[in-house]
C-alpha cells in the first residue's frame, strides 16, 4: 500500500525532500513507517528519530491525516496505518 508523508526539518533534510510516498506491506503501523524511513535514508534519518539510548525521540508529533499522535504517548508506534493515509512528522516543540 502507498502512504504519503510530509516531513519537517530535520527529517526533510535527511530525506532530501519535504514530501514523499512510501510503499508499505500490510498490515502496517507507525513503527513500520519509521523503520521504512530509516531503511531508506540510513543513519542520517535514524539519529533524528532515536536518541543515543535507542529510544524513540518523544517530541516528534505525527499527524495522521488530521489526528495528532505525539510519540510520547504510550503505544503511539502501534497506531495502525492504512492505504492512502497522509502522515506529517513535526518536531513538537513550541519553543518561541
Amino acid at each position: 500500500m502507498i502512504v504519503r508523508l510530509k516531513l519537517f526539518s530535520p527529517l526533510s533534510d535527511a530525506a532530501g525532500a519535504s514530501e514523499l510516498t512510501l510503499a508499505l506491506n500490510e498490515p502496517a503501523t507507525l513503527k513500520t513507517v519509521v523503520d521504512t524511513l530509516i531503511a531508506r535514508f540510513g543513519e542520517g534519518m535514524k539519529r533524528h528519530l532515536y536518541d543515543l539510548e535507542g529510544r524513540i525521540i518523544p517530541s516528534w508529533a505525527v499527524f495522521l491525516n488530521h489526528e495528532v499522535i505525539p510519540l510520547n504517548k504510550p503505544d503511539a508506534l502501534d497506531t495502525e496505518i492504512v492505504a492512502g493515509d497522509e502522515l506529517s512528522f513535526i518536531l513538537n516543540i513550541a519553543g518561541g
Partner: protein, 645 residues
C-alpha cells in the same frame, strides 16, 4: 587561547551611578552573595527587592534600572551571551525585566563590573561612558531623538572604536512609552518586555557605552574543556538544533500551523492564511545573513532585506514573535512583517506589547469603540498593514491615538471604557506572547504564573511535549504529566520545576534556545542542569551540585514572586484573559472550538502552588518556603506587611 584565572567568571565589582547627584560608586562584589544569587536575574531581583519598595513608582527617579550580565557571560562557555535588565515595570507595576544578547554585557565585565545599578534621573538627556575604571556621565543632546542604530553608530564614532558595546533607547523610550525596550549594540539584542525602555527614558538616560579591556575567565580549564566537549556532543545529536540553524526562530510557524494555535485577529482565530509567511519564504526571498550571538554554535539569528516595492531597502533582524504578532493584527504580508520589525527596532518598541496593543485597538475599531475620529481617518482594520505601520509610529511618538495606546492595552482599555477591557489580551497588564493556549491547559497556567506578566520564556511548559509517561511519573509524580491535551496530575509540579529550570539560564546568561529547549528530556536536563552547573563550577572553582543550581533558580523566582506579593499581588493576579476561558478558538484548524477549561486551570494552579510551598488559596509564599531558600529577611519583611501565605 583560554587562560586560567583565579577570580573565575566574576569581574569583582558593582558599579552604581546616581543620575540625580552625579555620584559614581564602585563596590566590591561580595562573593557569598555571588555564589548564592549567581548572576543575571538573581542579582537583579535581589537588588530590586532591597532597593525599590512599593511606594516607588516605575517612572519615579528612585526606581532602579539594573543591568546584570549572566554569571558565565564573558567566558568561553557556548551561548553564554545574555544580560538581564531589571526594574519595577511601567507595564505591570510589579517585577519587570528584559533579557538581551549582544556584546555589551561581556564588555561591562571586561571593564571590571558584574552589575550596573542606575538610580535617580538626570535633568537633561545624558549617556554613560564606561571606559574600564573611568566612568563619566556625558551630555546626550546630540543623540536625543535618534534611532537605536543611529545612536549606536554615533557612539562608535565618538569613542573611535568598534570595540565598544552600547545600550540605547529609541524615541519610544524617550517618550516613556510603556511598551518601549532597550537595545544592545544597535539592534543586536533587545531587552524587550515589561517597558524597561520607559524606565531608562524616565531617567533621561539615552545610552550606555562601554569599553572593557580586562578579562574574566576559567579556574579549572580541564573541567571546562570536558564540559565543552560534552555540550557539543549533545547539540550534535539533538534534533531540536537543525531547524533552529536552518530557519532561525521563524521555524515555530510549522508548530503553530499543525496545532492551529495562531491566535490571529486579537487571539480569536486558530487557523489563518499563513502560507505567505512560510519560513521557507523568509529564507529564500529575504534572508541575507545567518549569524550567531556571541559564543553560540546554534546560529539562529537572521537578517532580512526587502529589495523592491514600497519597503525597498529595508534591512533588519526579525524573530518569530514579530511574525506572530503581525498575525495577531491579521497581517500576512512578509514584507509588512519585516518592515514592522524594522520600525519597532528603530523606535525601540517591544514587538509583542505593541503588536497585541494594536490588535486590541483593531478589535475596538471593529466593534465601534474607536472610530475614525479617534484614529484621525486611519482605517484600523485587521489586515491593514499601512494602518499597522502608521499607528506604530504614532505610538512611538505618542501622537493622537498613539498616545493612549502607548500606555499599553489594559490602560488604554480602561480609558476607552464601554467594555473594552475584555479585548485587552494581557496578564498582569503585560500583553500576551507565544501561542494560543486553548486546548493546552498547562500553557495557560504558565502564562498566568509568570512573574513579569504573560510569558512563555519564564517557564518551559513544553517539557510536557518531550517527556515520556514514565519520566512524568518519575519526575512529576504522574504519567499524566506527559499528556499534552488531557493530562492534569503532575502538571503543576512540571510547571514549577520548569520555571526553576529555565531560571538557571537567566542566572548564568545562557541562551534558552541553546540550553533550555531540546527534543528529549534527557538532552534537556543534560544541557540545562548538568552541563550548566559544570560550566559554572569549572569557571569558578566551586562545587555547586545540580540540586543547588536548581535551588538557585527557585530562589530567584521566589524573590520575584515576593516582590509582586509585596506590591499587593496574590492568586487573583495569576489569571489569563477571560476570552481564553469563554470564547472557543475559531477559524477552523485542528484546535477549532477549544477553550481553556477553568476547572482544570484552577486544579493545575492549586498543584503548582502546593509544589512551590505557597498557600494554595491566596498564592502567597509561606514563611518556611522562603526561609528554606535562604530568604528569611524577605519572609520577615512580608510578615510585617501581613503578606505571607
Amino acid at each position: 587561547m583560554i587562560m586560567a584565572r583565579k577570580k573565575g567568571s566574576y569581574a569583582g565589582k558593582i558599579l552604581r551611578v546616581d543620575l540625580s547627584s552625579g555620584k559614581i560608586e564602585k563596590q566590591d562584589l561580595d562573593f557569598d552573595f555571588a555564589h548564592k544569587y549567581i548572576g543575571g536575574r538573581g542579582f537583579g531581583s535581589r537588588v530590586l527587592y532591597n532597593e525599590v519598595p512599593p511606594e516607588v513608582g516605575p517612572l519615579d527617579p528612585e526606581n532602579r534600572l539594573i543591568f546584570s550580565p549572566g554569571a558565565l557571560f564573558g567566558t568561553a562557555v557556548p551561548a553564554a551571551s545574555r544580560t538581564t535588565a531589571t526594574a519595577k515595570s511601567p507595564v505591570t507595576e510589579m517585577f519587570g525585566d528584559g533579557h538581551s544578547s549582544g556584546h555589551w554585557g561581556s564588555l561591562l565585565k571586561s571593564a571590571g563590573y558584574d552589575q550596573l545599578i542606575i538610580q535617580g534621573a538626570a535633568e537633561k538627556p545624558v549617556y554613560l561612558w564606561i571606559d574600564n575604571d573611568r566612568v563619566e556621565i556625558r551630555d546626550a543632546k546630540h543623540l536625543w531623538g535618534k534611532s537605536n542604530m543611529e545612536t549606536n553608530e554615533s557612539l562608535l564614532e565618538t569613542h573611535g572604536s568598534r570595540e565598544i558595546g552600547t545600550l540605547s533607547i529609541g524615541p519610544a523610550g524617550e517618550k516613556k512609552v510603556r511598551l518601549a525596550c532597550i537595545f544592545s549594540d544597535g539592534i543586536m539584542g533587545t531587552f524587550a518586555r515589561t517597558g524597561i525602555g520607559a524606565v531608562m527614558g524616565s531617567k533621561n538616560l539615552k545610552a550606555v557605552a562601554t569599553r572593557g579591556t580586562g578579562d574574566v575567565g576559567i579556574v579549572d580549564i580541564e573541567a571546562f574543556k570536558k564540559a565543552y566537549q560534552d555540550y557539543l556532543q549533545v547539540i550534535a545529536v539533538d534534533p531540536y538544533v537543525p531547524p533552529a540553524t536552518k530557519y532561525g526562530t521563524c521555524r515555530f510557524m510549522y508548530h503553530r500551523v499543525k496545532f492551529g494555535i495562531h491566535g490571529a485577529n486579537n487571539w480569536r482565530l486558530g487557523d489563518f492564511d499563513w502560507k505567505p509567511l512560510d519560513p521557507e519564504v523568509f529564507r529564500s526571498d529575504y534572508q541575507i545573513k545567518a549569524s550567531a550571538c556571541p559564543m553560540c554554535p546554534v546560529r539562529c539569528r537572521r537578517e532580512y532585506r526587502i529589495s523592491t516595492g514600497k519597503y525597498a531597502g529595508t534591512v533588519t533582524k526579525l524573530e518569530w514573535e514579530t511574525i506572530a504578532r503581525c498575525m495577531t493584527c491579521g497581517v500576512n504580508d512578509p514584507e509588512a512583517v519585516i518592515y514592522f520589525s524594522h520600525l519597532c527596532n528603530q523606535y525601540g518598541l517591544d514587538v509583542e506589547g505593541v503588536g497585541d496593543t494594536i490588535a486590541f485597538a483593531m478589535e475596538c475599531f471593529e466593534k465601534g469603540l474607536i472610530s475614525e475620529r479617534e484614529t484621525e481617518g486611519l482605517r484600523l482594520a485587521f489586515g491593514n498593514s499601512d494602518a499597522l505601520m502608521e499607528i506604530t509610529r504614532k505610538i512611538a511618538y505618542r501622537e493622537g491615538l498613539g498616545d493612549l495606546l502607548a500606555e499599553g492595552s489594559l490602560r488604554a482599555a480602561r480609558a476607552i471604557g464601554k467594555g473594552a477591557e475584555k479585548y485587552a489580551m494581557q496578564v498582569k497588564g503585560s500583553e500576551m506572547s507565544a501561542a494560543d493556549p486553548r486546548g493546552m491547559p498547562v500553557r495557560a497556567v504558565s502564562y498566568a504564573t509568570s512573574t513579569r506578566g504573560s510569558d512563555h520564556l519564564r517557564s518551559n511548559p513544553y517539557v510536557e511535549e518531550l517527556i515520556t509517561p514514565d519520566e512524568g511519573l518519575q519526575h512529576f509524580g504522574s504519567k499524566e504529566a506527559a499528556d499534552i491535551f488531557q493530562g492534569l496530575k503532575g502538571k503543576g509540579k512540571l510547571l514549577a520545576w520548569s520555571e526553576n529550570f529555565v531560571t538557571i539560564g537567566d542566572l548564568l546568561g545562557l541562551c534558552k534556545f541553546a540550553y533550555y529547549r531540546s527534543a528529549t528530556f534527557g538532552y534537556l536536563r543534560r544541557k540545562g542542569v548538568e552541563l550548566a552547573t559544570r560550566f559554572y563550577n569549572a569557571c569558578n572553582g566551586t562545587r555547586l551540585s545540580e540540586e543547588e543550581m536548581l535551588q538557585a533558580g527557585e530562589r530567584a523566582f521566589n524573590m520575584e514572586k515576593a516582590f509582586n506579593v509585596r506590591e499587593g499581588a496574590g492568586r487573583e493576579k495569576d489569571i489569563i484573559p477571560e476570552r481564553f476561558f469563554k470564547e472557543a478558538l475559531a477559524g477552523g484548524g485542528p484546535s477549532n472550538g477549544a477553550v481553556v477549561d477553568r476547572e482544570k486551570f484552577d486544579l493545575i494552579l492549586d498543584e503548582y502552588y502546593g509544589s512551590r510551598g505557597w498557600n494554595e488559596k491566596t498564592g502567597l509564599p509561606k514563611k518556611e518556603t522562603l526561609k528554606k531558600l535562604g530568604l528569611a529577611d524577605i519572609a520577615d519583611d512580608l510578615q510585617k506587611r501581613n503578606r505571607l501565605g
